[in-house]
């Protein structure tokens, strides 16, 4: 009964409402489809073309050129790994809290000598 009422009300809606729904969904799909096609086909084609010309210039295989462009060299990876290792393993943010200043056993020290007092200069 309730569904029938809703269906009746839906039938009585302004035709503009249905136009907005149909056009709206279509435009959302169309916009994202256009972006999809551009990035899936056109951009890939352009980038492949650039890559091939780069490979031709360097005289290497396009697959190798792709690898050379996208993969970091071993030295760079080693430097990153070293930096990460140092960062995570050589941190000492938490100190023990034990004061390690040792008491000096001797009574005399030039640092506390009255002989070297500024007034005696």
């Amino acid at each position: 009964m309730h569904t029938l009422l809703l269906a009746g009300a839906a039938a009585g809606l302004d035709p503009l409402a249905w136009t907005i729904v149909v056009v709206g969904i279509s435009i959302v799909f169309l916009s994202l489809l256009v972006v999809y096609f551009f990035f899936r086909y056109i951009l890939t084609y352009i980038l492949n073309f650039k890559l091939k010309s780069f490979a031709r210039k360097k005289g290497i295989d396009p697959a190798e050129a792709q690898t050379a462009r996208t993969i970091q060299s071993g030295e760079v990876n080693a430097a990153i790994a070293m930096a990460l290792y140092q960062y995570f393993n050589e941190l000492h943010d938490v100190e023990s809290g034990v004061i390690t200043i040792k008491r000096v056993s001797r009574n005399y020290s030039p640092w506390s000598s009255k002989l070297y007092n500024m007034n005696n200069l």
Binding site: L6, A9, A10, L13, D14, L16, A17, T19, I20, V21, V23, G24, I25, I27, V28, F29, L30, S31, L32, L33, V34, V35, Y36, F38, F39, R40, L43, L47, R69, T70, I71
Partner: protein, 450 residues
Amino acid sequence: MAKRKTWTILALLVITSLAWLAFVKPEHDRQKAQTETGIEASAALPQYQPDNQTEEGFLAGLRQFWAFTGFRNVTSGHLIMILVGLIFIYLAIRYEYEPLLLVPIGTGILIGNIPIFSDGGMNLQVGIYQQGSVLNYLYFGVLKGVYPPLIFLGIGAMTDFSSLISNPRLLLLGAAAQVGIFITFIGALLLGFAPPEAGAIGIIGGADGPTAIFISSRLANGMNLLADGTPVKNLIGPIAIAAYSYMALVPVIQPPIMRLLTNRKERLIRMKPPRAVTKTEKILFPIFGLLLTCFISPSALPLLGMLFFGNILKESGVTKRLAETARTSLIDIVNIMIGLTVGASTQADVFLTKESILIFALGAAAFAIATTAGVLFAKTMNIFLPEGDKINPLIGNSGVSAVPDSARVSEVEGLKADKTNHLLMHAMGPNVAGVIGSAIAAGIMLSYLG
């Protein structure tokens, strides 16, 4: 823990509804009856009389002070909204539930519901709806749609489109989830909302707070006139609160729908790892994305223009300082402004209405429909995709633009089915596509109903 959160949210909704029925509605009816019988509600209240010489000076001063206090002007509606604000702050601090949103909004609700003396239309220039007040000036950014594009700028500066570039077909999932917006639009029309109001309510289905505020500030701002000369209702507060509340509830709303619509075999699908994306592609994506989408739907320009601009700042690599500002300081400042003013705009007399409850119900339906559409579309795509290149339908829910919450839900649900199947990277594709899709849908609503 999650169950406890769910029960707290449900309790909040039930308390608000009961309190509305118990306190606000009778009072509203009483005021309506008084208006109909020609008795002004304010006539029964003591009036401010600055030249009253008959009263003793001290007593008159006290009476005047009392008339201006919140205790004299408070209504049950104010108390309910203050309770809601306190619960928002509690949820944010106790459970860390979207604290960056809920603390400013919750505090804003408290600020907006301090009772202010306004008998005889007196303007103390204090409240958010009183012209000349500081809050009113800040609210200008919401009313004129200034804040949402600035938030989009920050989002663009922090978004990595790599997963979308490496697998562009995931864009379609972002489009499919926007069906929720349009079905909710029809639902709102059937419930008696005017077309511009229904358009603004429908955007809740996009699961995007800034977009919802942007559209409601343009379509349901209480100022525009309908064809018959009556003004549209001011629904900015209820729509914004509904959108942000349901965004916070994404981990509760989506998983049951996802499990219901998929079988175990589908949940175990492993997707191909995304390929490496070059810097050139990352730079070209925002440029061509902007040109292609805005040429088709120019009304989405304020949102998409800023989104892609932010992303160009990030990916160009030569404007690091600007990108850093956009994704940290700027977005934080705007979040403070938007959260506070949207919260404050939920003044009891504007917010506690029958329409607000309907908006909350429609918002829940919108989220459910959007999630369903995303998951079903992923399953439909699988029919046409070759074996070994299929999509795990658990990422379909990420087509709604609640970034990155819905992608996180995909990851968690994927791990429940297979502890080694990580879907987060794949789910980020439809998630950011959802941001673009909801902005386009918003543009369409604006072009038809604005």
